[in-house]
């Protein structure tokens, strides 16, 4: 049984102007200890996906259909109390901006110990010992001192280390990291990513890494999902997706990397921008921006087609697969 199995997940935001679907028919699985990257441009639904796994969508967002099975339990329909015993305990989250994630009026120690006490029966002194051990694991200098400090006394990089330490407190099976390095400067980014990779490998923790950064995805993850307008459009082993992208959108993302541009020339970019979620075109949602657009792209939703170890939602792939089938039959 996979650790996490997401099936046909739909997430809706009920607004006055009508419901907006932020996630459509999202399905994927994650094995124990596996590291999965989720990429896509802003507004593609990456963060919503992360939050919907632990059913922590901000109102008015909610899971409208589908299931999220974690170790056999469907988190989408679990009672609040049971859900709470999984959050922070079996699945922990790391947020984007460490400056905003920690409560400014509580000490680091309080914020770490409360998490332990919420899930385990242990004394405060024991909890403090565990907290200290985790702070050492994330390589914070003089950890004893940190427990009595407030978040504002620490730098951004240190705060993110503390958030990671909080994430590791209860030795979870899965960490969902929502752009954990976006708010940090480049040198710290690399350190934090290395740290996360090491900690996940050492403790056999599965990781869902939500990011814009294809470089980080290729270094850290084993498999990846590419999202566009609330749907997964391509998924597969990271190496295959990055080296041999099949979907025109994924190809566009790869070409947009600065390494792909000729020096002195403009960077390649995908023309146009993602449609607003209220107003997604019929058929393939990428059709207004696609270079290879065909008639069928305006009419029907592309099905997932196998390509090597990858799955791609594109009509071109579907057609060529059909051609091959026909050839065989002849």
């Amino acid at each position: 049984m996979p650790l996490l199995e997401v099936n046909n997940l739909d997430v809706c935001f009920g607004l006055r102007s009508g419901a907006v679907k932020a996630l459509r028919d999202v399905s994927f699985t994650l094995e124990r200890g596996e590291r999965l990257g989720v990429v896509g441009e802003s507004g593609a639904g990456k963060s919503v996906l992360g939050f919907s796994i632990i059913n922590l969508l901000s109102r008015p967002g909610h899971i409208s259909s589908g299931s999220v099975h974690f170790e056999g339990k469907d988190l989408a329909s679990l009672a609040p109390g049971e859900l709470r015993s999984i959050r922070g305990n079996r699945i922990s989250m790391i947020f984007q901006d460490p400056m905003m994630t920690l409560n400014p009026v509580l000490t680091i120690g309080v914020q770490m110990i409360e998490c332990l006490l919420a899930h385990r029966r242990m004394s405060k002194a024991d909890a403090k010992r565990v907290a200290l051990k985790k702070l050492q694991q994330v390589q914070i200098p003089s950890p004893e001192k940190r427990l009595d400090q407030y978040p504002h006394e620490l730098s951004g990089g240190m705060r993110q280390r503390i958030v990671i330490a909080i994430g590791l407190l209860l030795d979870p099976d899965l960490i969902i990291a929502d752009e954990p390095t976006t708010a940090l400067d480049v040198t710290i980014q690399a350190e934090i990513m290395d740290l996360m990779l090491n900690l996940c490998e050492q403790n056999n923790v599965a990781l869902i890494l939500i990011t814009h950064d294809l470089g980080v995805v290729s270094q850290v993850t084993q498999r990846m999902l590419v999202m566009y307008a609330g749907r997964i459009i391509e998924q597969g082993p990271t190496k295959e997706v990055i080296n041999d992208a099949q979907h025109p959108y994924t190809q566009g993302l790869m070409n947009a990397l600065p390494q792909m541009a000729i020096p002195g020339q403009k960077l390649n970019q995908i023309k146009g921008s993602m449609p607003p979620l209220q107003d997604i075109p019929k058929g393939c949602s990428f059709n207004p921006r696609c270079e290879y657009v065909m008639d069928i792209c305006h009419q029907a939703l592309p099905p997932f087609t196998r390509s090597g170890n990858c799955q791609v939602a594109c009509h071109m792939m579907a057609e060529s697969a059909q051609d091959k089938l026909q050839l065989k039959e002849v």
Binding site: I54, L56, S58, R84, S85, I86, R87, G88, N89, S92, M93, F95, D97, M100, T101, L102, N103, P104, V105, L106, T107, E114, C115, A118, H119, Y150, H152, V163, I166
Partner: protein, 323 residues
């Protein structure tokens, strides 16, 4: 800490100087104190002589300097009516007013925090919507109307509570208090409710809106992601952050409430400073008026200093200078 107090002390001196200047300068425009001081039979020459003797004909600055010199030593002049030092007269009435403000503050804290928090957590519930509606009405009804309404209902119709005065008091260490007797407490209820009625809706709304904002914050979301109990999230994570701006506003409002007691005390015949002040205005008892304004100014300065101290204790990102 010491540096904070030194800084605060100098600020207070400046504030008190300005208050004394303003309150002293209005006393010339309140009417002729001699009309109240002496009878009809006194001739104009005698009145003139008396004015000279009292220094009322001296230039403004000379009068002010003379006043300020004495005031620094704690002598704010004698009340024309009571023929006693004005400061002493006010100090005798201070306990009554402070107890009234205290009663109102307790009511405000007891009600605004739970109601504000509840309606922030459940903004769509009928209770929250009712409270929000009532608070608008509460803000718009003037104090004297609330007072009369309460007296009518609880004192006249239901006959549960006394309608005026302070009731039985006892003296503890020179402080005349009504808080220690049942009668005194009963007398306190209606006036405190009246005084609280002005600020209560304001505080409920303030706490609600601050709390709603805090509940949207990333750190509250992170707290949910940690799987800790809702009670702890609401009352430890959110409430502490909610209270920071509320403390700031609250401090200023306590000062304002001291001023609002004038109306409440008048309606309930509460023997406090506000009631005394209104009498003093009617009698053109200028030294008493000036003394009242200065004492109220001092109360403002003291409460604001205390609020800043409390704020520094609650908010770890604020360090009082020199600590």
């Amino acid at each position: 800490m010491i540096a904070f107090f030194v800084k605060r002390f100098f600020q207070a001196v400046v504030v008190m100087f300005v208050i004394s200047l303003i309150s002293f300068s209005i006393q010339d425009n309140l009417g002729d104190p001699l009309r109240e001081l002496v009878g009809q039979a006194v001739s104009e020459e005698e009145r003139q002589a008396l004015r000279d003797e009292m220094g009322l004909n001296d230039p403004f600055l000379v009068q002010y300097v003379r006043f300020a010199k004495k005031a620094v030593q704690g002598d704010l002049g004698d009340s024309y009516f009571f023929k006693k030092p004005a400061f002493e007269v006010i100090m005798n009435k201070l306990p009554a007013t402070l107890e009234l403000v205290f009663g109102a503050t307790v009511i405000i804290i007891l009600f605004s925090v739970p109601v504000g928090v509840y309606s922030a957590i459940n903004p769509q519930s009928w209770f929250s919507k009712t409270v929000m509606g009532l608070s608008i009405i509460g803000i718009s009804i003037p104090v004297f109307l609330t007072a009369i309404g309460l007296i009518y209902l609880f004192a006249i119709e239901l006959n549960w509570l006394p309608s005026y005065g302070r009731g039985e008091t006892s003296t503890v260490m020179g402080w005349e208090t009504g808080l220690l007797t049942v009668d005194g407490l009963q007398h306190l209820i209606l006036p405190s409710c009246t005084l609280a009625s002005i600020m209560l809706p304001l505080f409920i709304r303030l706490i609600r809106s601050e709390m709603m904002e805090v509940l949207q914050s990333e750190y509250v979301k992170f707290a949910w992601a940690k799987g800790i109990s809702p009670r702890r999230i609401y009352f430890v994570h959110a409430l502490k952050n909610t209270m920071l701006p509320v403390i700031t506003v609250g401090g200023v409002q306590i000062g304002t409430m001291v001023a609002y007691t004038i109306l409440t005390e008048t309606v309930f015949q509460w023997p406090g400073m506000g009631f005394l002040f209104l009498e003093a205005v009617n009698r053109v008892d200028t030294p008493l008026i000036v003394a009242y304004l200065i004492v109220v100014g001092a109360i403002f300065v003291v409460t604001n200093t205390l609020v800043d101290l409390i704020y520094g204790l609650v908010n770890p990102t604020v360090k009082l200078a020199g600590k």
